[in-house]
């Protein structure tokens, strides 16, 4: 059991794409009898109710029904996940909200879609984000070992997703040609287009064209901005 989890943890640390991560995640939760694993609501606990972002593999029809009916406002699992620190099952929610028809309705609709029981893991990450990972499946046997394993899977899946999201939002290096970089190096050294033309044995107009193209690729308006971007990204140095 620990071997499977250890393998998944190391997969999470090395996964370089969402697709790869999701495939490993699916593989591992299926081996514990779950049919779906969904990560939702990544964000801060404060605006949880405004954000429903689903990553994973649930029935798209169910997700649509959930969103259209604004189920997040009544979902007893969503409510419980904000105040709870470890995993819990939908069965527990069903009992706790036995006097709340709109909460029970959400569980009933899920049941109608074939999601008989679910196991929910709330996660507060070290980076201040919050998410909820839900596993469903009619063969889900929620004994102590399975609960522990699902809990760990949820944690490492969340951490890996957060890592991939950070990579995604990091500014990428502008993609410049050799010639553009060469020209920008001379620009940063304070040479005029005419001087650069003489140095590289090309015309002043060609130098100017290289600079203009480079500015477009970097996404800036002035030469100074282009140089700053190149310095920051280590493309040129002073």
């Amino acid at each position: 059991m620990m071997d499977v989890i250890s393998q998944f943890i190391s997969d999470c640390r090395t996964a370089s794409t969402y697709h790869e991560l999701e495939a490993k995640f699916k593989h591992v939760f299926r081996s514990f009898g779950a049919d779906t694993g969904t990560l939702s609501c990544i964000g801060s606990p404060a605006n949880l109710l405004n954000s429903l972002k689903v990553v994973g593999s649930p029935d798209s029809e169910f997700v649509r029904t959930y969103a259209e009916n604004n189920f997040i406002r009544y979902d007893p699992a969503a409510k419980k996940s904000i105040t709870t620190l470890s995993g819990f099952s939908w069965d527990e929610c069903r009992f706790e909200s036995r006097n709340d028809p709109s909460a029970l309705n959400v569980l009933d609709v899920a049941h109608d879609f074939g999601y008989e029981n679910g196991f929910v893991v709330p996660i507060h990450s070290g980076l201040g984000n919050f998410s909820v990972v839900t596993f469903t499946g009619d063969r889900l046997d929620l004994n102590a070992t399975t609960r522990g394993c699902l809990h760990l899977m949820a944690i490492y899946y969340h951490v890996a997703l957060e890592r991939l999201m950070l990579i995604d939002t990091a500014p990428s290096k502008p993609d410049l040609t050799e010639r553009q970089i060469e020209v920008l190096r001379w620009v940063s050294a304070g040479k005029t287009d005419w001087e650069i033309g003489r140095i590289l044995s090309i015309s002043e107009a060609t130098v100017n064209r290289h600079v203009e193209r480079a500015k477009e690729r970097i996404g800036v308006r002035t030469r100074a901005q282009a140089i700053v971007e190149c310095l920051v990204n280590g493309i040129v140095s002073l």
Partner: protein, 250 residues
């Protein structure tokens, strides 16, 4: 500065130890409802692991207030995972080079403020923890921690292995997990890098001389710490010169 409070120098820290037991009472008994195996006296919490071989790492302000603390003990003697062995899948870790850590507390006024990735009180203590390991030849720390801190441990890039699965504890639906953390010199280097602390932060006082007060020790440390934090060599030399003048004038 992180103070290693041992049985040899404990007399110096009577006030801080009392304050730590009060913090523990507040945190574990009042807030989290723990009671099993604890001794409570005058709003202070003690348990069987407050022993002569226990070392408390205390992150203190320059006027002796507690910012954060950890409790450490060798695994060669009976320790927490012996008592709670159902958290460990396999043999309970034991060795001269393995120490156990428990009772991790950050004082409420020194917790992370919004926008901060880590609280300073925590990053200092983490560096002190691995520096303590380096000075004592400790290669690993075991700990039983609240599972909700696992993402933070992973994201801090600490090297560790899980000793078992998360297991429920207490009556508030919490779970805890036992892990063993690599505490070799590389871990010290890594923590100094991620927390941006590039100076020695650990202090272990020798047994106090008769009549020596903690205030005197803290005043000396304050000077050393100020100078250690000046990374520019010339500025540091100038600061030393200033001090020399000060001392010769006195």
């Amino acid at each position: 500065m992180i103070h290693a409070v041992t049985s040899a120098n404990r007399d110096l820290y009577a006030k801080q130890l009392a304050a730590m037991h009060k913090l523990r009472y507040h945190f574990y008994v009042v807030q989290r409802g723990w009671s099993d195996g604890l001794t409570i006296e005058n709003d202070r919490e003690y348990d069987e692991f407050d022993r002569p071989d226990t070392v408390y790492l205390m992150n203190l302000t320059h006027d002796g207030q507690i910012k954060s603390t950890f409790r450490l003990m060798p695994t060669m003697n009976h320790y927490l995972l012996d008592k709670l062995s159902h958290f460990v899948d396999g043999p309970v870790p034991r060795g001269n080079h393995i120490w156990d850590m428990t009772r991790w507390i950050i004082s409420p006024s020194f917790r992370k403020v919004s926008g901060e990735k880590y609280s300073k009180a925590h990053s200092e203590l983490a560096c002190g923890l691995f520096e303590f390991a380096a000075t004592r030849g400790i290669t690993h720390y075991t700990t039983l921690m609240d599972t909700r801190f696992l993402p933070a441990v992973e994201q801090a890039g600490w090297k560790y292995e899980l000793l078992g699965l998360p297991v429920p504890f207490g009556d508030r639906g919490e779970t805890a997990i036992a892990i063993i953390i690599d505490a070799g010199p590389k871990s010290l280097a890594h923590n100094r890098m991620i927390y941006d602390i590039d100076y020695s932060i650990l202090f272990e006082s020798p047994p106090p001389r008769i009549g020596e007060r903690l205030e005197d020790v803290l005043a000396r440390l304050d000077v050393i710490e100020t100078i250690e934090q000046i990374s520019d060599r010339e500025a540091r030399m100038a600061a030393w010169d200033g001090l020399n003048t000060q001392f010769s004038a006195a």
